[in-house]
């Protein structure tokens, strides 16, 4: 019954979407603007209908309605309620449904926020979103239909993939990822809308899309960090990033989106890079679809490639259509969109932004080609190869280290041009911090050039960004006699975009510091211990107390209880690494236990146990500063949120360069 309702809702919504797509050009070409209400109506109606289908799926999951194919595939009566609800995105069909719902939500929000804007940009953007929606609508009634009736109805199901029901972060990471990925359709829609409405020669589409991209970027940043955390807590090897194809898939659009967030500033301030910015919108969107294709087609072996099937061909076809259509539209209008180079001096902020975009693009291409190379090698040379971490580390890390350095240079330089004398005054002092940080790294035992440079540049950029707050605060204190806290709050409030951006920089630097420290100074040891025996790693000692087993409804748990010993051999805590055997799978899910402090993590994973519990083999890893990565993720999100809710200074309604001039004068302080 539920399946029938949901299925009908999806069919009707697909028809609505197709109607919305067809009516839009008719309304615009026929100069019947009142008909555009039908486009917007289609967007809202679709949102309601997909919401019905999604709620129906959640109800079916929670009530264990095994007559619905998706529930029969991922449901189980023994799975705890929370994991039953979140299995909505635990497998292919459900995740496509959830994707469609998030896309419908974004489309409805875009129409809601922008529908009063005159001109054809918003209608065409809405139409573009409907075209993307139609693709997912076709998947949902075709190859990824989650509501296929099952007969006879099974009494119980296998439950979700065991890796996905082992940790609470599975309730957080996928929704964030979808909010990030799907949100990147919106800037793409504005880019395509700009071309279709011949508004490509103005910057309005960029003004309109910036906040949507910033929000999506914040979601994607948080999703990547949450994914790293999940991998750290569940996979049991004590790492958070392995350049796995699916990790790369989430990183690729993040890189182009980051490039966009910088190039759009150059566009707004200096009226250059318009075509490039447009291309970044298109690439970011294509990379999100491509990432989904990698995850969902099973074309590359990966720890995350959960599904196989013919859905890959649909994605390939869609990617091809999007690429060809975008190429034709962008190339056909490039002369119209293009801006003239308008560089100020060499020592200027736009130069740094150009370099930033160049390095981000280089990292993106490196990761993209490294990810795809096994396919290329197999197709062209018939050999099976894999491209491992060394390639990515050797190729991408130098560029990323350079980007950290630029993060300190950009904020210090003004737009336009400056004298070398002035530039030197701003750029040289933070070098002291770089020397200090580099020296600390060397004393602590770092030997790799890029590792030492990473520490040094984190110091450089941290001072570069923090100094901007300090200078601004000092100016306010002198001018208005405010105390530190009030000066800081008003400073940020006065230019949220700018100071939100610097805060996001500091978040990235915290992540970079955590990554650099934990990968450079990681120590690990493995040992088989009998109760009472202990193991010491980098000054941290753990002693095995007991090995035990416990039965839970959906799984059997084997664990080791270990005492953590302090310097004087007193017990300062206990740690319980476990191994969870889910009934549906032969393979245990590692469940390491982590003891965190501001200085770093003590990470213990149970590797093996003797069948009557006589001994246990454990791996103990000491990783400095890992929690800084998670905290940095939070700071990034806060920075992005501050930057998003700035005042409506740049009114998008007035076209052409007028808003630019106004913005430039309003910010004349810089």
């Amino acid at each position: 019954m539920i399946g029938l309702i949901a299925h009908s809702a999806l069919l009707v919504s697909l028809a609505t979407v197709v109607f919305g797509i067809v009516i839009t050009p008719i309304a615009i070409r026929g100069e019947r603007r009142e008909w555009l209400q039908l486009t917007y109506g289609a967007v809202y109606t679709h949102f309601l209908l997909v919401t019905v289908a999604t709620v129906a799926m959640v109800v079916a999951l929670v009530t264990h309605d095994f007559s619905v194919s998706y529930v029969a595939a991922v449901g189980s009566r023994t799975t705890p309620l929370l994991f039953t609800v979140i299995s909505l995105w635990g497998a292919l069909e459900g995740s496509i449904l959830f994707w469609a719902w998030v896309l419908a939500l974004y489309a409805a929000a875009v129409v809601w926020v922008h529908h009063r804007r005159p001109g054809n940009l918003v209608p065409y953007a809405a139409m573009t979103l409907l075209v993307i929606t139609a693709f997912f609508g076709v998947l949902l009634v075709g190859p990824a239909d989650p509501f296929v009736p099952v007969f006879p109805v099974p009494a119980d199901g296998p439950g979700p993939n065991t890796l996905l029901q082992n940790h609470i972060l599975m309730a957080v990471h996928p929704p964030l990822l979808y909010l990030g990925y799907v949100g990147m359709s919106v800037p793409f829609a504005f880019a395509i809308g700009a071309i279709l409405s011949s508004e490509g020669a103005s910057n309005d589409w960029a003004h309109l899309s910036r906040r949507w991209m910033l929000a999506s970027w914040a979601f994607l940043s948080a999703a990547i960090i949450a994914g790293m955390w999940w991998s750290y807590e569940v996979l049991g090897w004590g790492g958070y990033w392995a350049w796995d194809p699916v990790e790369n898939a989430s990183f690729l659009p993040w890189l182009t989106a980051t490039a966009y967030l910088h190039s759009v500033m150059v566009l707004e301030r200096r009226n250059m890079l318009r075509l490039w910015t447009l291309n970044l919108c298109v690439s970011t969107f294509v990379l999100t679809i491509f990432g989904t294709f990698l995850t969902r087609s099973g074309i590359l072996s990966s720890v995350h490639a959960f599904t196989t099937g013919n859905i890959g061909y649909y994605f390939l076809a869609f990617i091809a259509i999007v690429l060809v259509a975008s190429l034709v539209l962008v190339a056909g209008n490039s002369e119209h969109v293009r801006t003239k180079a308008n560089l100020g001096g060499v020592a200027s902020r736009e130069t740094v932004f150009l370099l930033n975009n160049m390095f981000l693009t280089a990292v993106m291409l490196t990761v993209l080609i490294g990810t795809l190379y096994p396919l290329i090698a197999e197709a062209m040379r018939g050999v099976k190869v894999s491209v491992g971490e060394p390639f990515f580390n050797r190729m991408a890390i130098p560029a990323m280290v350079a980007l950290i350095f630029l993060m300190g240079v950009g904020p210090a330089l003004p737009w336009g041009s400056t004298t070398w004398e002035e530039a030197r005054k701003r750029l040289v002092p933070p070098l002291a911090a770089a020397v200090v940080m580099g020296a600390i790294a060397v004393v602590a035992g770092a030997s790799g050039v890029y590792s030492i440079l990473a520490f040094a540049f984190v110091g450089y950029a941290a001072v570069g960004n923090l100094r901007e707050y300090w200078v601004g605060m000092s100016a306010r204190r002198r001018a208005h006699g405010e105390n530190h806290a009030i000066a800081l709050v008003r400073l940020i409030g006065g230019n949220r975009r700018r100071y939100g951006g610097y805060l996001a920089h500091i978040g990235i630097l915290l992540v970079a510091l955590g990554v650099a420290a934990s990968s450079t100074f990681r120590s690990e040891r493995e040992a088989t211990l009998f109760p009472g025996e202990s193991l010491t790693v980098a000054g941290h000692t753990v002693r095995l107390k007991s090995v035990w087993g416990r039965e839970e409804p959906q799984r059997s748990v084997i664990g080791a209880t270990m005492d953590v010993l302090g310097k004087d051999s007193s017990v300062i805590g206990t740690i319980h690494p476990r191994m969870n055997f889910y009934h549906v799978s032969d393979e245990p899910v590692p469940t390491p236990d982590v003891r965190s402090s501001i200085r770093g993590d003590l990470y213990v994973n149970l590797m093996a146990f003797e069948s009557i519990g006589a001994n246990a083999t454990v791996k103990v890893i000491v990783e400095p500063l890992v929690p800084w990565i998670w905290f940095g993720g939070l700071v990034i999100v806060i920075g992005a949120a501050i930057g998003m809710f700035h005042g409506g200074r740049r009114s998008p309604a007035a076209g052409g360069r007028a808003p630019l001039a106004r913005a430039a004068s309003a910010d004349g302080t810089e």
């Binding site: 099976k384 491992g388 190729m395 055997f581 093996a608 003797e610 069948s611």
Partner: protein
């Protein structure tokens, strides 16, 4: 004229980038080989990182828990390769199971593993009675029950 300079500069940058990229790929790619293919390469692969894929030869697994020394043989039916690994085997490591071993052939013709993955494929054989997963932890759970 200026445009030509810009285009020329861009072409040089792209060429250098592509050269670095594909050079890096050639140097860092890891071949996936079966024991037969690995043996056929002879001394050519000594010291070169490869991924060895095959099945664990029944009866070949020897694990010294205290020394964390694991030895087994990987076979593809046509060739056999002895493997040595330090560290605990994956919990469900069993005779006949598909594995991918990352590492390199040492001087003595033994494969030194740096990574060990259990492979989920059609080659997977269902465990025989008495070898099922729960057999391994059943005793411990019964023993721990209050």
């Amino acid at each position: 004229m200026k445009r030509a300079w810009v285009l020329g500069g861009a072409a040089v940058i792209i060429a250098v980038f592509a050269w670095l990229l594909f050079g890096g790929l050639e140097k860092n790619m890891v071949f996936f080989l079966t024991p037969q293919e690995l043996l056929a390469k002879g001394t050519e692969v000594v010291g070169v990182p490869v991924r060895l894929g095959g099945q664990v030869k029944p009866g070949s697994v020897v694990w010294d828990a205290k020394a964390l020394d694991l030895r087994f043989t990987v076979t593809d039916g046509a060739g056999e390769m002895p493997v040595r690994s330090t560290g605990a085997p994956p919990q469900m490591f069993r005779d006949g199971m598909g594995v991918i071993v990352e590492g390199r052939v040492g001087a003595g013709g033994v494969f030194d593993a740096t990574g060990l993955m259990v492979k989920h494929s059609n080659e997977y054989q269902a465990p025989k009675p008495g070898e099922e997963a729960h057999e391994k932890y059943k005793t411990l759970i019964q023993q721990s029950a209050p």
